[in-house]
Symmetry: C2
Subunit: 887 residues, 2 copies
């Protein structure tokens, strides 16, 4: 049945199943699976994703075969329900919903109540005995269809309803009478006619095809494309379309609709969790217009339904072996399940659910490790409000703790302002009554999101959790009016500071100090140890396991790295030690030396300071390797800039301030990134590296005498030729040897090189002869390979991403085809010379999960990243090992 | 005879010959050859270069086998001459000279008069009846031996002779009596004893071995190593050593010594040319202490000797089929030839000799083409003094026209100052009494060299000609005293301007305007047409021949390029058109536009200006391809800087000057080389490229209507991804097509890309799909691959070259191992997709002969360089074709 395009489901039997996500989409596959499981799913059929890809391939047209197959399935649905689409006395009504293989919340469009027209609306009214309901359903159809299928501006319909309510002096839609709605239907039809010069289609078959085409169209709309880009979703055929008979949560007071989770998606606790609204359609819950009730209150209201729902959610979780996110509708006291899917969850919940499910014997450890996402771990390490500040501060209101983590920033009231202010370098907090898919970029640009309406499953909450952006949703005391936020008597305007805590739901009317957590929870600790076990089983070159090291310059960074589970220090940037104001002046004196003698004198003062830092790091890393990179950046980065700084330095040096200016000017470079830096300084001023190596050697010797197990690795930056190493390696060795002889110590060192200039990668076969290890400086390698300056790329990379010229920001995720190809070449050529050559990555890519996956595949031995990224890297490393094990 | 280490020559028979340069060195091989030809060469033996390499390989020791073989050859020499080394009554005296396979003037050390000691000096005096001569020879031996073998400072001996002369109130060495010289010998021996705690060796065998060891030692000394580096001489085994019986040009008035050329080394005229000094040793001629006489005056003085010399030089030129540089000595009326070699020559001479020798039937065209060096062509295109200025100016003195070309600069009096001032960005002229090997770096740093003594074969003249640096030598009216140059009544001090003309020997006491020649001589034209014939025979991809194109932005550049023989324009940098002040303001208005509309309005004014330039270039290049690169550099390069410029622009734009500052600031970049430039501007502001393409298309259409044959090629700069081309190519095509339709023209265009970011090279397989041709932007490719900013590299590249970390400046000669490897990869991958993909090089490497050779080997179809380099590139292209033809 290769050519099968439409899959029926209904009455306990379905043509598809859960494994067919690729062609039925996530929603369709699960509707089929649930049907087969005997769950009460309203019957319908799913149009496969292949139809979508054919539709686009054929210039947005359908084949006859497909149209025939759809007609056959529609007949079958009519037969099964005993109703006919467009029947004036008892019409079959259907919903048309999108559903791709990957969930894209809010991105695709949905049409409900299809089948209603001027005649069948009367039939529905007669059949249900509820005229208001019938006209409300018809009104909703025309509005949705007008907007989504026919492209009429939403504002037109909203204006009409507003006018009507103002005229009648009422506030809520529910106050509109059956007659009002009938009037509105006529208004709406006029609006469509005026805007589009055609009538709202009265033929339900035309309506259905219009809706199907709109769903396919929405697959290619800008928002959906952007979402796929943002989330790097590629390789899909398209979206499926689900045509399903309608059930109504707004049939009356014994009807309702809701969303529930088989476990708490915020904490992971194993308890039934969800929300519902009586006499409402599903869109009302998700859109956040009315604030819904907790699922547990349903037990009192409809005990039998509640019991059925609980047993279904248990069955579904057991069946899918994961926490389920279930949409249900109650129509006149009967329960229908409209959708189930693996639920999105907050970081804490992800870890807890993974741990619990292993404990419960539902899944194994490997599955658990693959199920937690890097962004989950990221959330757990999100900023929080400093304890002292929190104690003193009083929240001005509370909302739902929709996405964990604290955020603080200047408030803005729309997505565009958020993006613009962010570009201008400000930290912003997006405040909205509710968010919609149009706000995605603005949310991504914000530190956090605050909404005044909507629940835990509102758009803002779902998207923010997915992004890992802190969010407080449904802060119902807050009123958003234009560019004002009113909370009680307080009025906040654009640019005012606000702090939110997405973990507690608290909102503070001021700027509070945040901190990033430095300890990890016992659950996360356990989970990460599982990750480490998996990593430890891999073999890479001469080292067991795929290691995660930290970038650390100060002893306290090294300590934190150990707490976060680092296997060593992969990058200690010696120059960072001089960002400390106290040390900076000595460094500046060194830079501005005129002669080798002056420089040596200045270096002499620097030596003990560096030694102390190195000793502290060695101590923290007892037993683990520490890779120290000798001075890298251009010297002028450390020069004094302000008048005060120049005067201070001049005083220290005992020279007139004016005499420093020409020297400072001379050190300025046109392209410092490509300038006099790194080991170039060792060729021109060997005494700098000599001093640094002496400090390392003395620190190592001192530690060894205190019984600390020291493994120094000295790394030469920005190498472009084996001849540089041929020159520098003996220099390093002789200084180290001299100190070892003097201190009577025997400490082995490794001397390696950064591979960060393309030439180093290209000439790797020669360079490997002089290097004990490689560390890929992917930041610089990306800069040189792309000819993109990190500092300047901001002016064109956004346009590149927007126009799809770049798939991803190459400074965030490694560019496999370009930079990655150079890395693979360097490794291949290097290991041809030195089979056990150790190789790693340092720089910010080291903490990016996709990059880590690449590094694993490329045969690297380790990645190194900032201490805060270590937990994520431990997870990503384990996942890379599992995914690429060939098992 | 594999293990043979020493080769005897003498009495018309030699064990070696001219083909054995590798093991006998150039001098030794030619001594052997001349001996076999019956030329009167003093007998001796040559120690092979293999001994030198063994000597270094064995920790600077000799093998017994070799020492035995040397002893056998010494006996043979003693037998042949009938004299014995150290014989107190009639000693055999020998010279010990170096001689590598490649001539290295002044680099290696020589010892003469070996065999003299306290006893044999008396024997020599008695035998020759010339006591003064004997003691002078002994004195010279001790001095040379002391300096070169024993390492005593030269100044010590000079002081002793100076003291003696002052005491006796005499000025010239020749005024010293036999007794004086005897005193000096004693002084000299004391100096050695004092400085080195050992005696000057009285045993002649010890003397000989000391001298041989010194020659080998000099192979490894800093000067020699530096010379080989400067001249990229690699792959040699070492130097040979020639031990030869002495003849004396200073025996008396019927003795003399000289250097002659079989043709004029400056002009190439077929006339006997040379200089000699009577009663002098060879070193006196070369060192330039006395100014020698013209060779033709020898005919009157010693007609028989002159006749013999003429017949020998004719025979040698005929035999070696090249112009010969011959050293001779006359001892007591008998002629000896001490050396012959292919003579170094000035550019004009090189071309003329090559043409003449083909005409004479001595060599074929291919040999002629291989015999002219790029530097020769370079010299022919050297700067000259502007005619008008020359007419007005009066030379203050004249010297020898030692190396052609005019030079102007601030004078300095030693090599160190020359290097330093040059580093500071000044043009300098080195003024010396005479130059020595220590001055090489200073000469290389200078625009030109002026010496007050020395002839056409003096160190300054030989080295300057080799370097292509203009030189006036032996300006005998000039007096150099410390840091003063005195000419007549005028005194010039450091920093004063001087202009010299190395083609005429004139010296001007002022700064004169220079110009570079724009026409080429008929001889050079003929020669270059031979080169073109050779190039035309090669086949590269879809194009016949290996093409030489020009970088040209203005119609006048294109015309000059055609005069110089360009095959087309390989690089027209559209932005260079705006360096013109008149056009710049429009361009600035475009850059500072706030909106697309403003930008389009500004571009509209630019369009006709660009069109006119393009049309002019197409016209000049009638029938030849013109590659136009769309806008490349970062926009901020064109911004106004001074207050006046900003005010002028503000007035034009009708805005207050202050309003421009923030915009200008915003465009500033941290690393502009890696910034918002090239096709990145087409992604962000497509209208810029659209306008440029429109101007190209309109210009092409206009030319076609005037019957001009137009071949536009549009080139996209700084591409990093095929997706950029996928975006830009349709844009270019549609604009071009629109103009073609409007103008009713059909002009084919090619659309290609620069390969200048490493990523472009790495992803070539993808990029080739969208490119009709590649042009390697080797300047930028070198910058990115090395992470060397051209603007900043000056601060460390000299140290890299000095410490031999870099073999050559990668911005001058392509780095084959790094940049070249990327280029080869890009070509291979690109042609795998598109077998006929045309590829070339533009940028400054395109005019470098070594790079051209690489480009030929790498399979490129063309190189493009500045119009002035076209003749050199035509030669280099032909030589590459000959060298790599496998024939």
């Amino acid at each position: 049945m290769d050519s099968k395009k439409v899959y029926f489901f209904g009455e306990g039997q379905a043509e598809g199943n859960a494994k067919m996500k690729d062609i039925l989409g996530g929603k369709g596959a699960n509707l089929a699976e649930m049907t087969n499981l005997g769950v009460p799913v309203p019957p319908g059929f799913t149009i496969s994703t292949e139809v979508c890809s054919e539709y686009y391939a054929n210039g947005e047209k359908y084949t006859k075969d497909f149209k025939d197959e759809a007609a056959v399935n529609l007949s079958r649905l009519e037969k099964l329900t005993g109703k006919r689409l467009g029947d004036p006395s008892d019409p079959l009504l259907v919903s048309v919903r999108s559903g791709a293989a990957v969930s894209m919340p809010g991105m695709m469009d949905t049409i409900l109540n299809l089948g209603l027209n001027d005649k069948s609306v009367e039939g529905l009214a007669a059949k249900t005995g509820n005229t208001r309901f019938a006209w409300d359903s018809y009104r909703r159809l025309i509005q949705m269809y007008g907007e989504v299928v026919m492209g009429v501006a939403a504002g037109e319909f909203e204006n009409a309803i507003k006018l009507l309510k103002t005229g009648k002096k009422i506030e809520l839609d529910t106050e509109l009478t059956s007659n009002d709605l009938q009037t509105l239907v006529n208004e709406y039809k006029k609006i469509i006619k005026k805007a589009k010069k055609i009538e709202f289609p009265q033929n339900p078959i035309d309506q259905m095809w219009g809706a199907i085409t709109a769903v396919f169209g929405s697959w290619g709309n800008e928002r959906a494309v952007r979402y796929r880009e943002l989330n790097s979703i590629t390789g899909l055929k398209g979206t499926a379309v689900n045509v399903q008979s309608m059930v109504f949560g707004n049939w009356g007071e014994d009807s309702g609709t809701g969303v529930c989770f088989s476990r708490d998606p915020s904490t992971g606790e194993k308890k039934f969790y969800g929300e519902y609204l009586m006499n409402a359609q599903g869109e009302d819950v998700v859109a956040g217009i009315r604030t819904p009730q907790k699922i547990t209150t349903l037990e009192k209201k409809l005990p039998l339904i509640y019991k059925e729902l609980v047993s279904i959610k248990d069955m579904l979780e057991n069946h899918f072996k994961d926490m389920q996110d279930i949409e249900f509708t109650i129509q006149q006291g009967k329960l229908y399940i409209l959708q189930t899917r693996n639920g999105k969850r907050a970081g804490e919940a992800a870890v807890k659910i993974a741990l619990d499910m292993v404990k419960e014997g539902v899944i194994d450890k490997n599955t658990a490790v693959l199920r937690v996402e890097s962004s989950h771990i990221d959330q757990l390490l999100h900023p929080r409000i400093e304890l002292a500040a929190r104690k003193k501060a009083r929240p001005i209101t509370r909302g739902l703790n929709a996405s964990p983590g604290a955020a603080c920033g200047k408030i803005v009231f729309n997505a565009k302002d958020a993006e613009e202010l962010r570009k201008a370098g400000e930290k912003v907090l997006l405040v909205r009554q509710e968010t919609s898919p149009e706000d995605i970029n603005g949310m991504a640009a914000s530190q956090g999101v605050l909404t005044s309406t909507g629940g835990m499953t509102s758009h803002a909450a779902v998207v923010a959790r997915g992004m890992g952006t802190p969010c407080v949703a449904g802060a119902s005391e807050a009123v958003v009016q234009g560019k004002k936020l009113i909370i009680g008597k307080k009025v906040f305007k654009e640019g005012d500071f606000l702090t939110i805590d997405g973990s507690t739901g608290e909102v503070y009317g001021e700027q509070l100090p945040l901190f990033s957590p430095t300890k990890i929870s016992p659950e996360l600790k356990t989970f990460l140890l599982w990750c480490d076990e998996i990593r430890a089983k891999t073999k890479r070159g001469d080292v067991e396991g795929f290691k995660i090291r930290a970038n650390a310059e100060r002893p306290e960074d090294a300590k934190r790295a150990i707490e976060f589970g680092a296997d060593g220090v992969g990058l200690c940037r010696t120059e960072h030690m001089f960002f400390d104001k106290e040390k900076l002046i000595f460094f500046r004196a060194m830079i501005l030396s005129d002669t080798t003698e002056e420089r040596k004198a200045a270096l002499k003062k620097i030596l003990p300071l560096q030694k102390k830092d190195f000793a502290g790091i060695f101590k923290a890393m007892n037993g683990k390797p520490v890779t120290i990179r000798l001075l890298d950046p251009p010297l002028h980065e450390f020069l004094p800039h302000t008048k005060e700084e120049i005067e201070e330095l001049a005083e220290y040096l005992g020279v007139p301030p004016k005499s420093l200016s020409p020297k400072i000017e001379k050190l300025r470079e046109a392209n410092p990134m490509l300038g006099h830096r790194g080991c170039r300084l060792a060729i021109t001023y060997p005494e700098i590296y000599e001093t640094q190596v002496e400090a390392i050697a003395l620190a190592a010797a001192e530690c060894v005498k205190k019984k600390i197990d020291v493994h120094p690795e000295i790394m030469i930056p920005i190498v472009i030729s084996s001849r540089e190493l041929k020159f520098i390696r003996p220099l390093v060795e002789s200084v180290f040897k001299r100190v070892m002889e003097k201190t009577l110590c025997k400490i082995p060192i490794r001397i390696g090189t950064m591979i960060e200039a393309p030439r180093a990668a290209v000439t790797s076969a020669r360079i490997a002869q002089y290097a004990d290890f490689y560390s890929f400086g992917t930041n610089d390698l990306t800069q040189m390979t792309f000819a993109f300056s990190r500092d300047d790329a901001e002016s064109f990379v956004p346009a590149y991403l927007e126009k799809n010229v770049l798939e991803a920001d190459p400074f965030k995720t490694i560019d496999e085809n370009g930079v990655g190809a150079l890395m693979r070449y360097a490794i291949k050529e290097g290991r041809a010379v030195k089979p056990l050559l150790k190789a790693g990555v340092c720089g910010e890519h080291g903490g990016d999960p996709k990059t880590i996956d690449f590094c694993y595949r490329a045969g690297l031995n380790y990645v190194s990243c900032s201490p805060f990224r270590i937990p994520i890297a431990r997870l990503a490393g384990a996942q890379a090992a599992l995914r690429n094990s060939g098992a």
